[in-house]
């Protein structure tokens, strides 16, 4: 891969993470347990979709084949997507949505904090802007993990089950491959493996306050960097891309 191709790949990973999680959160619209959470989840989703627009637009420019943000969002099939497997997992109950969000918010905060000083000015600008939003996302999901964990017996159990179910998707966030290494070498990207201790410290602190146990599961899955996804991504895309497939280049 050329440097340009690697930067494209790197931007896709960032942009796809935000878009797929944003799409998942949008599914809560009209379905959240309380009105305040309906607003919160969709607002957070909107922030994420906004981030992905900036990242995918830039990715399209770097690629130089005339693909814009919409082309990349609506005309790629599953194997061309680079979002983390964690983020495409179904919403489940509210606890599961919060567990997924909490794991990612803590990760994304650390990742974007580091990206804010990227040598690539465009990446640094997007990261610095998004970081302010992520600060609120992280506060929101941390609050809920604590509230549910340290709540009733039932909410505690549901929160613990959710953490356990998603724990196997955590290691993938910290994987480094040749593209990540090259981006770190160029001063553009982040060494995500080095973020693990800080992530563990933040997560452990919240879990302790929430009286929850750090999950102890032996399995883990990975594959998104090579376009290997769970079956769930196909369903997300079927819904998200429907309009553009049925009515190509539709505008309103």
């Amino acid at each position: 891969m050329t440097n340009q191709e690697m930067l494209f790949e790197y931007l896709l990973r960032l942009g796809d993470n935000s878009l797929i999680l944003g799409q998942r959160l949008a599914e809560w619209c009209g379905h959240a347990p309380i009105l305040e959470e309906d607003l919160a989840l969709t607002n957070i989703g909107l922030d994420l979709i906004g981030q992905s627009r900036m990242l995918l637009s830039y990715a399209g420019e770097v690629e130089g084949k005339g693909r814009d943000e919409d082309r990349l969002a609506f005309h790629r099939d599953t194997q061309a997507w680079r979002n983390l497997l964690l983020l495409e997992q179904p919403n489940g109950d509210f606890a599961k949505t919060m567990a997924r969000q909490f794991f990612f918010d803590v990760f994304q905060y650390l990742q974007y904090e580091a990206l804010s000083s990227s040598k690539d000015e465009r990446v640094a600008g997007i990261a610095a802007k998004s970081l302010k939003e992520i600060t609120y996302h992280r506060r929101h999901s941390s609050d809920w993990v604590i509230r549910l964990g340290d709540g009733t017996e039932e909410s505690h159990e549901k929160m613990q089950t959710a953490l356990n179910e998603l724990w196997g998707f955590v290691p993938e966030m910290f994987d480094m491959d040749a593209v990540d290494e090259a981006m770190v070498a160029d001063g553009i990207g982040v060494d995500v493996a080095s973020l693990r201790p800080a992530w563990d410290a933040q997560v452990n602190a919240v879990l302790a306050e929430a009286t929850l146990k750090r999950p102890d599961v032996s399995w883990s899955v990975r594959g998104s960097r090579d376009g290997k996804h769970s079956e769930h991504l196909g369903y997300i895309l079927a819904e998200m891309q429907f309009l553009q497939h049925a009515y190509p280049d539709a505008k309103w």
């Binding site: 944003g22 305040e36 959470e37 607003l39 919160a40 607002n43 957070i44 989703g45 909107l46 922030d47 994420l48 979709i49 906004g50 981030q51 627009r53 900036m54 000015e121 640094a124 600008g125 997007i126 610095a128 802007k129 998004s130 302010k132 939003e133 600060t135 609120y136 506060r139 929101h140 609050d143």
Partner: protein
């Protein structure tokens, strides 16, 4: 021969463009106009988005373009720049006053401390500082929901970023 409006005149024209979600605020009050400048005869209005996903951003761009055309300016670009990132510290004193009169508590300055949590928010109705957060997310991305413990009124708070 068309006479070009000078930069100050353009600034006045842009004060007529309101935020579609909070119509008491102009785009100038919001602090989203970065620069107004001419490159030769072509006007450039450089703006910044507030939140990444704010749906008002595109409406504002269109509204700026419409307002410029209404004032006879046809040769212009509206350019978006994201860096340095917009902060609520850029909302003008006038803008803060208008927000409060409208019933939205303006952001407690400074954004740096507030982002870490724990700001004291003043009720826009009775001015009590005994208020509590109902939800960190409100009717738009930029607002949180609060309630006053004294007058019991619920209200929106314009979050610090």
């Amino acid at each position: 021969m068309v006479t070009l409006l000078n930069v100050d005149d353009v600034r006045h024209v842009l004060e007529l463009v309101k935020d579609p979600e909070i119509p008491v605020l102009s785009v100038a009050d919001l602090g989203i106009i970065r620069r107004i400048e001419y490159a030769g005869d072509r006007l450039q209005v450089v703006i910044t988005p507030t939140y990444s996903g704010c749906p008002a951003t595109e409406v504002i761009e269109t509204d700026i373009a419409t307002m410029l055309k209404l004032h006879g300016i046809t040769d212009f670009d509206v350019v978006t720049e994201i860096s340095p990132a917009w902060t609520t510290d850029w909302i003008t004193a006038d803008g803060r006053r208008k927000l409060e009169e409208y019933g939205i508590a303006p952001p407690e300055r400074k954004s740096k401390g507030a982002l870490l949590g724990f700001e004291t928010v003043t009720c826009p109705q009775c001015k009590s500082t005994d208020t509590r957060v109902v939800s960190q997310f409100g009717s738009t991305a930029c607002k949180a929901q609060y309630k006053c413990n004294d007058c019991l009124e619920p209200f929106d708070y314009f979050k610090c970023v």
